[in-house]
């Protein structure tokens, strides 16, 4: 029981984290029609910034806030200098160019911070276990991630559905040329959206940093997961990204936690313990393949044309 609740919460936490990453990706994808492989690099930069600033200021929260600002600025700079010129080009060009950016960012990090990973220690008040149900404790920090991510998801939803900028974003997603023709400064809007996506990726990175080590290439595996999520959810759909992210987070976490035991009932111990990690890593891709075969446009396609 304890294990089930704990793993369930872990799945939720991982799913929400994936959502932060996928939300930015799906916005950029849906509005600018840009395939940004370098989104994972922004996630990595968020983690590196947080580790550096936290060590510098001595405060985890202050470091996290500064890192958030830094990834926002980095995203805007990246958009203005490089990615802006890719809009309207072939998707293949996007893949190639942002693949180049990944190489650049990984190498730049190696140059600046060195090849060894960094650690981002938590303040004492975030390391205590919190009782959530009678007899069940859960780490405060993971709980904090869930709360922050849910809050951000809510803000994002309200921002996109209830504000003027959000309206422009939605309009941009459904018809780019038209809102440009109506006199909206579309360049500025794009830069804003990209910066927002970068900040969300940075937030995901800096929140994940204390759980895993901060290292080069940390953004790549999770980027693929984020892509799987937006493909399952339907490109450009934030709601789809949210549901798919929770779904994928759950499947991945629960699969890793319970699959070995399940397999052990059918296979011999040694075979099960080696097959289980591979199988649970595969589960998500299997899910994506099934979704794409059944619904080639994803579960919640954004623009039904």
């Amino acid at each position: 029981m304890l294990l089930v609740v704990e793993q369930f919460l872990n799945g939720l936490q991982f799913g929400l984290l994936l959502f932060l990453l996928a939300a930015g990706l799906t916005l950029v994808f849906g509005i600018m029609d840009l395939v940004n492989l370098a989104h994972g690099s922004l996630y990595m930069m968020g983690a590196y910034f947080a580790a550096t600033f936290a060590a510098w200021t001595g405060s985890f929260l202050l470091g996290a806030l500064m890192a958030l600002g830094a990834t926002l600025v980095l995203g805007i700079v990246l958009e203005v200098t490089a990615l802006r010129h890719l809009y309207g080009r072939d998707h293949l060009d996007h893949v190639l160019a942002t693949f180049g950016l990944i190489l650049f960012f990984n190498e730049a990090v190696r140059l600046i911070w060195g090849p060894a990973g960094l650690a981002l220690p938590l303040p004492a008040w975030l390391t205590v276990p919190v009782p959530i149900l009678p007899g069940i404790h859960y780490p405060a920090y993971r709980l904090a991630i869930i709360v922050v991510a849910l809050l951000v998801a809510l803000l994002l939803y309200l921002g996109v559905m209830r504000t003027r900028i959000g309206m422009l974003i939605r309009a941009g997603a459904s018809n780019r040329e038209m809102i440009g023709a109506l006199g909206i400064n579309i360049k500025l809007l794009y830069t804003l959206v990209f910066g927002l996506g970068a900040a969300l990726a940075g937030l995901a990175g800096l929140m994940q940093a204390p759980i895993l080590t901060v290292q080069i290439g940390m953004g790549e595996n999770i980027l693929i997961l984020a892509f799987v999520i937006i493909v399952i959810g339907g490109i450009g759909s934030i709601r789809g990204a949210f549901l798919a992210a929770i779904f994928v987070g759950m499947i991945d976490t629960l699969g890793r936690a319970f699959l070995p035991n399940l397999l052990r009932q059918v296979l011999s111990g040694a075979a099960a313990s080696t097959a289980a990690p591979a199988l649970s890593s595969m589960l998500i891709y299997l899910l994506m393949a099934i979704v794409l075969v059944v619904r080639p446009e994803g579960l919640f396609p954004a623009n039904r044309r």
């Binding site: 994808f29 893949v95 190639l96 160019a97 180049g100 990984n106 493909v231």
Partner: protein, 314 residues
């Protein structure tokens, strides 16, 4: 007329260079360059196979490295089980790649555009994790191949020069095959599907069937590259299938010139030599390579072949 001659001259020069390379290596005593170019030729073969579906067929596969792994693992696993004969290993490698391509292609071709890019990527990642789970064959750490494929008496893969020429012959054979395919009725249909699938379907061509056959041919060719690669490194590991490797292959194709016969070869030679050259100058070679890719995308339409064509015209 002149446009054709410039790119043709450069291509001919490059091919002549590839044919004469072992001679240079022998004379100068530089063995390293032969090993390097064996790898370049094998990856050029893989890039050429990707170009068949990407450049001519318009199918943007982001999971082509999976075939490198499948071909390689076929050789490695058979060698591990004591089957050393290349006459068994290579056909198995090709057949395994073809079967994988058939299944993946049948599922992936239901989608298009970005979704196709992503689903091929997902399947390749799946193959990567399957290979990581093969505990009997090294799992994550990979599998050392103690004995190269044995073509008893016919050709000795342990001999550097013989192996080099085998790879080069395979590359030329595959390019010849692609040339024949592209100019056949089948190839014209596939290229027609790239430019306008709806219209081709309206004329009465079963679009998916043509694309699937093309996808399988390409995968099988890349499986050959995988079998050669495993023999070249005497080692196979899941890392061969990692998604960045698929990205590398795409870069080679686009760098050289998508949809041209010799573009991918040119792309592979330039990309891998650049990587080698930059990594000798600085440990941080990717710091230059990354932005270079960005610039090539932004300003170099049509890759090297396109640039050569423009040079000829201008």
């Amino acid at each position: 007329m002149k446009a054709i001659t410039v790119s043709k001259a450069v291509t001919a020069l490059m091919l002549a260079g590839l044919v004469l390379l072992p001679l240079y290596s022998q004379l100068s005593g530089n063995i390293f360059i032969l090993t390097l170019f064996t790898r370049i030729i094998i990856l050029a073969l893989a890039a050429a196979s990707l170009n068949l579906i990407m450049g001519f067929g318009g199918m943007m596969s982001f999971g082509h490295a999976a075939y490198l792994g499948i071909g390689g693992y076929a050789v490695g696993m058979l060698a591990q089980e004591g089957v050393g004969s290349g006459f068994i290993q290579f056909p198995v490698a090709l057949a395994a790649s073809a079967i994988y391509a058939l299944v993946i292609g049948a599922l992936s071709l239901r989608t298009r555009g970005v979704y196709f890019i992503m689903i091929t990527l997902a399947f390749a990642q799946m193959a990567y994790y399957v290979a990581s789970g093969l505990a009997r064959y090294g799992g994550d750490d990979g599998l050392t191949i103690y004995k190269r494929s044995d073509f008893s008496g016919l050709i000795d893969l342990g001999n550097r020069v013989q192996f080099y020429y085998l790879c080069l012959a395979c590359l030329f054979g595959v390019i010849f095959l692609i040339w024949r395919i592209v100019n056949s009725r089948f190839g014209l249909v596939v290229q027609g599907l790239r430019s306008n699938e709806q219209r081709m379907q309206a004329i009465g061509f079963p679009a998916k069937r043509y694309q699937l056959v093309c996808f399988v041919i390409s995968g099988t060719m890349c499986g050959l590259a995988g079998a050669l690669l495993a023999n070249n490194t005497d080692f196979i590991s899941p890392a061969v299938m990692y998604w960045t490797r698929s990205g590398d292959l795409m870069v080679m194709v686009i760098l050289g010139g998508m949809g041209t016969l010799f573009g991918p070869v040119m792309g592979a030679v330039v990309f891998l030599l650049l990587e080698e050259f930059l990594s000798q100058i600085t440990e941080y070679w990717a710091l230059i390579m990354g932005p270079l890719l960005l610039l090539i995308v932004l300003f170099g339409r049509g890759g090297i072949m396109g640039a050569l064509g423009r040079a000829g015209r201008g």
